[in-house]
């Protein structure tokens, strides 16, 4: 178990290092980083100071290590719009985003997983058909279309809920529903196929053939095995809590991380973009790490051998 943990930790660290390298390469390829990060109208001495601070006058490999060091010490540059630390700017927006994504995650898991399990256990029934139609629709309707249709119906036509902004909890309802429905559909579809795959395995037939009640077969044999792929997807959803609402936040003018990212991209505010990129990568890697450890708990076979490819 300890080797498994060490292997996973090393892999997570490597992935983060690759993201930092990616940011470094892309930043260097796109022009003079000092000018870009400080802004075109920055005074020359400030740009020079930045160059020395970030070691931009040194050879490239040395710059790379400097860059790495700066990021490790939390120095992610300043926003070129108001000169504040990019990391502070991003951190301020995180609570607003989580206020949408955490309830949405609860909806996804709370509706998607049970619906998928039910559909798989009643394959080809009317309920299964309905769940699948909704699931396919939920996948093919993009979130901005769903969001705008909800606005059109509930805000414009019925006038029940506000169409955008962040003044009260009522403003959060439509964005949460928009996020939750799409994710629940994906999860239902996924859970259903994971369940169906497990239910087709020989050990399920063996268990029911030797007289184990169906209810016990499902809870003790089918569900734990189907949990592994489902947990992977949920892990991915947890990993995108911070940046999973880019489009929806824009639809509802919700001042979260996603909105900040879109504005930063259109202004080419690279320090902020880089900061969000690293933050998202870190959450994703941590979520994946937790999922990997959960695999170890769910499936003893995975504890010793390092996983080659995702199941």
């Amino acid at each position: 178990m300890l080797r498994f943990l060490a292997f996973r930790l090393a892999r997570a660290a490597l992935t983060i290092a690759m993201v930092v390298t990616f940011a470094f390469i892309v930043l260097r390829m796109s022009g003079d980083p000092a000018q870009i990060i400080m802004g075109a109208d920055a005074p020359p001495e400030a740009v020079d100071a930045f160059r020395t601070a970030w070691g931009l006058d040194r050879p490239l490999w040395e710059q790379y290590f400097h860059y790495f060091g700066a990021i490790l010490s939390g120095d992610l540059g300043r926003s070129m719009r108001d000169g504040r630390d990019a990391i502070v700017l991003v951190a301020e927006r995180i609570p607003a985003t989580l206020a949408l994504t955490i309830p949405a995650l609860l909806i996804k898991v709370g509706i998607g997983v049970p619906a998928g399990i039910y559909a798989a256990l009643h394959r080809n029934s009317l309920a299964d058909r309905i769940v699948m139609v909704i699931a396919v629709a939920g996948f093919t309707v993009p979130s901005f279309v769903l969001g705008l249709i909800l606005v059109l119906v509930f805000a414009v036509q019925l006038g029940w809920l506000p169409s955008g902004g962040q003044e009260s909890w009522r403003h959060a309802i439509l964005p949460i529903i928009t996020l939750g429905v799409g994710g629940a559909a994906v999860l239902a579809r996924f859970t259903r196929s994971a369940m169906l795959e497990v239910l087709g395995q020989p050990f399920i037939r063996t268990a029911s053939a030797k007289g184990v009640p169906w209810r016990m077969v499902v809870t003790n044999h089918a569900l734990p095995n189907a949990a592994i792929p489902t947990v992977t997807i949920i892990g991915f959803m947890v990993g995108s809590l911070i940046a999973g609402a880019v489009v929806v936040e824009s639809v509802f003018s919700w001042p979260g991380v996603g909105r900040l990212l879109v504005v930063a991209v259109s202004n080419r505010d690279l320090a902020v973009v880089q900061c969000i990129l690293l933050l998202v990568a870190c959450t994703m890697v941590v979520a994946n790490l937790v999922v990997d450890l959960l695999y170890g708990l769910l499936d003893p076979r995975l504890r010793s051998a390092p996983r080659q490819a995702t199941a």
Binding site: P142, F144, L148
Partner: protein
């Protein structure tokens, strides 16, 4: 572009001949029909479009579609500048399909090649490819795409290449896995013993054997790319004006949500029906051609 429809349509005709099975279910037939319509519209945009997509008709601004008080002059209505919604829709379909086809093919090419490289050379090359796979699986693609657009600015070519990187890791994983298992089978060893070059081995022998799985992956990635492109364009960060795509039309129509919802609904319905069609076809193909793929 003319070859593109073949990649999707070919397996339907070349599907395993099982006489016992009836044709595709009605929903899938609908999918094929809708997709054919979209392809025809995209290819014949210049012929079928009633107006140029930038043409203004200032006397008929925000005119509603037929059935909502509109006239046949503009069947789907006009926008705030009096531009014909149908004409813009037709050109948007062309742009969005072009991007989606281009990106799907790039993704499949890059991913499959890297997967083959990993399977062929093993060792360090394989480790490097798998590390790249881990890397791209670690960041939500939309965020990565936004970051690259922020760093490099925007152009149509960059956008297609960028979206082409979506899902490359899936093809790489599949191609590597299947090439490894093919390598363990007799035919690959035999061809290698006969002195075939790696190009010949992978191109002529391994690729045809794993093509059905790759084609299924392409049909599953295609709607995702349409959704990504329309999402980026909706945010104003994808296709840039004066060019128009389905997503940017929705983004533009959003401003007129209360006064002229048809500007937004026409492209929104098109996106939904197109992604739905390709998903239905993809699911059906997957069930038929490749029971191993979930």
């Amino acid at each position: 572009m003319p070859e593109a429809p073949l990649t999707v349509a070919a397996p339907a005709t070349a599907a395993p001949p099982r006489p016992a099975r009836a044709g595709p279910p009605p929903m899938v037939l609908f999918g094929f029909g809708w997709l054919a319509l979209m392809l025809a519209v995209a290819l014949l945009a210049d012929v079928v479009s009633p107006y140029a997509y930038t043409a203004l008709d200032l006397r008929n601004r925000l005119s509603p579609p037929i059935g909502f008080g509109g006239a046949w002059l503009h069947p789907l209505g006009t926008d705030e500048l009096g531009r014909d919604v149908l004409a813009r829709l037709i050109y948007s379909i062309r742009t969005s399909l072009l991007i989606a086809f281009g990106a799907t093919i790039i993704g499949a090419l890059v991913g499959t090649s890297l997967g083959f490289l990993a399977a062929h050379f093993r060792g360090l090359v394989e480790q490097a490819v798998m590390a790249l796979v881990d890397f791209s699986a670690s960041i939500p693609f939309l965020i990565l795409a936004l970051a690259v657009l922020a760093f490099f600015g925007n152009s149509m070519v960059l956008l297609i290449c960028l979206l082409g990187l979506h899902a490359w890791e899936r093809y790489a994983r599949i191609a590597r896995g299947l090439a490894l298992s093919a390598g363990a089978q007799g035919y690959a060893a035999a061809v290698r013993q006969l002195g075939a070059t790696p190009w010949r081995l992978y191109g002529r022998h391994v690729l045809p054997n794993i093509a059905s799985t790759l084609i299924v992956s392409m049909t599953l990635a295609f709607p995702e790319i349409i959704l990504l492109e329309s999402g980026l364009s909706f945010l104003g960060l994808g296709v840039q004006p004066p060019a128009t795509s389905l997503g940017s039309m929705v983004g533009y129509g959003r401003e007129y949500l209360t006064r002229a919802p048809w500007i937004l609904l026409a492209p929104a319905i098109t996106i939904v029906l197109t992604t739905l069609s390709v998903s239905l076809i993809g699911d059906w193909l997957r069930d038929r051609l490749d029971p191993t793929l979930r």
